[in-house]
Amino acid sequence: MAAVPRSRRRARRRDLGAAALLVGPFLALLGVFTVYPMVRSTLYSFSDFSALRPSAAQWVGLEQFRKVLSDPTFRRAIANTILLMVITVPTQTFLAVLVGNALNARIRLRSFFRAVYFLPYVTAPVAVGAIMLSLFGPNGIVTSLVHTLAGTPQTAWYAITPQAFALVAIVMVWTQTGFFAVIVLAGLQSIPGDIYEAADLDGAGWWTKLTRITLPLLRPTVLLVLVMGVIVGLQAFDQPYVLSTTGGALPGSPDGSTLTMVMYVYTQSFRYFHMGEASAAAYVVMAIILVFALLQGALQRRAGETR
């Protein structure tokens, strides 16, 4: 009986050196480039630190939080980001379920189509932005097409509201749908085939199988796609930044209509060098993400109970 703990203790001693060697480098880098920066940004958020005069920083308590939360620009950024999320997440999830189901049908060229739908996701967002700025530019093909079909003005989409915001939403959905469709496809393929065979024997039709088998069993995957979409959406930066700054325009142009929360953090830090405000804003963003993550956790638990 006493041999078990002793051998375990010996195993622990034996592993200790190896563990130190294997974990040490990771832990050191994590400490220096993640944990320590977190501490620094916490300190910044309670100070009036500016990169322009680093030595003059003073402790100001919650002043920076009060300042950013009452800043109409930051409020605008929060509203924009949440609106962007509300528009893009359901759209891309719906499209991803459609595309995922189509990819799961017995078709030839499946891996060809899968590769095609993946292209936007693996293209640098900066390159996607440059392409879209041209297509939706003053003489762009899409601008002209929509002008002819729907009578919208023949003007660059990124220069007028609400087209600029719509452009950001379109580009985000265009970029992410294929990625999420592949996740949906993986979820579909993990549904055991014999469930469908049993349904076939019972004479179930296509619609019955979709609503009674596929969609209920796909629910965890759809939830995952929603959650990832929300987190990515709350941190939207690359697309709106690239789409709004052409020709040296202010990030979030026109008139702050495409400014997101992370863009606010970025401009406060690197355009105005207000590191204190930027850090406080970053923590507000983190808190908002946390709230959504907790909400999602509660939702998932409730879904688990009702099943």
């Binding site: 190896a18 060697l21 294997l22 480039f33 693996v122 296509w206 590191m275």
Partner: protein
């Protein structure tokens, strides 16, 4: 009767497949058309012609490409991106894999706390690190240097998590066999675990590569000298500052900077999708 039912069934199945083909086809056109236009526009000599199909062959040419290859630093940006991404991937593979293995297979004091730390740091959104990483790189004197672009990004808690999940599924018998052959903990890691971890390491490599190859935020503030730009920063500079009003030239820049990497992705896509689905199921 059986055969009649079966034919009706498969006919309906074919109809459904037709629907899938049409839907996928329309979607594929929406996805591909912007890329096709980009390549087309890059060969058009005059910006006035980029939005129309012109049948006069003399209006097309390689002028923009030769201008970019001789008059810009695109070649340098390629080298920078390759070097920076290769070193970041290499560092992550070494450090994350080792730490993930220790968390999964070794018992040592503080293991639970360390795993908690990995999970917690996975949740930190990168914008919280914008300012402190920037000020640290400044005070280290690493602005406009490869060190600044590489060193802060050599590890990734998600990579550790991924490798821990991978190693934790290994059978204990493998370890025991190694120990009987006289290997210590490090020997088991090197000679037993690593040779069997190819799939997990490949998945991790692909994630780290994609995230870092296209990343824009950090490099855009960590380098300011054009000869230190990575590709995304370079594309941004070309299309947003240098040639804002030169559509065709900008598109040639987009082609030169993205098409080669898209070809690599197309070749690797099977592995990429496999890694993605594996990580999500795991």
């Amino acid at each position: 009767m059986m055969t009649a039912a079966k034919t009706a069934h498969s006919a309906r199945g074919q109809l459904r497949n037709l629907g899938a083909y049409v839907g996928l086809g329309v979607g594929a056109i929406i996805v591909v058309a912007p890329f096709v236009w980009t390549v087309y526009a890059s060969f058009v000599k005059s910006d006035l012609d980029v939005n129309s199909l012109n049948l006069v062959l003399g209006r097309y040419g390689l002028t923009h490409y030769s201008e970019l290859l001789t008059g810009s630093l695109i070649g340098r940006w390629w080298l920078n991106s390759l070097l920076v991404t290769a070193l970041i991937v290499a560092g992550n593979l070494v450090f994350n894999t080792a730490a993930g293995y220790a968390l999964a297979r070794l018992s040592f004091p503080g293991r639970g706390a360390l795993f908690g730390l990995v999970l917690a740091t996975m949740m930190i959104p990168s914008q919280v690190l914008f300012v402190p990483i920037y000020t640290m790189v400044v005070s280290l004197g690493w602005l406009n240097s490869y060190a600044g672009l590489i060193v802060p990004f050599l590890i990734n808690p998600f990579g550790v998590f991924l490798m821990r999940q991978h190693f934790i599924g290994f059978p204990q018998e493998l370890d025991d066999a190694g120990r009987i052959d006289g290997l210590g903990s490090l020997g088991v890691f090197r000679h037993v675990a690593l040779p069997n971890a190819g799939a997990g390491i490949a998945a991790q490599a692909i994630f780290i590569f994609v995230w870092n190859w296209n990343t824009f935020v950090f490099p855009s503030v960590l380098v300011t000298r054009p000869e230190m730009f990575t590709l995304p920063v370079g594309i941004y500079q070309l299309t947003h500052t240098a040639f804002t009003n030169h559509v065709a030239l900008s598109m040639a820049g987009v082609v030169l900077t993205t098409v080669p990497s898209l070809l690599i992705f197309a070749l690797l896509q099977r592995r990429f999708v496999h890694a993605l689905t594996g990580a999500i199921k795991g």
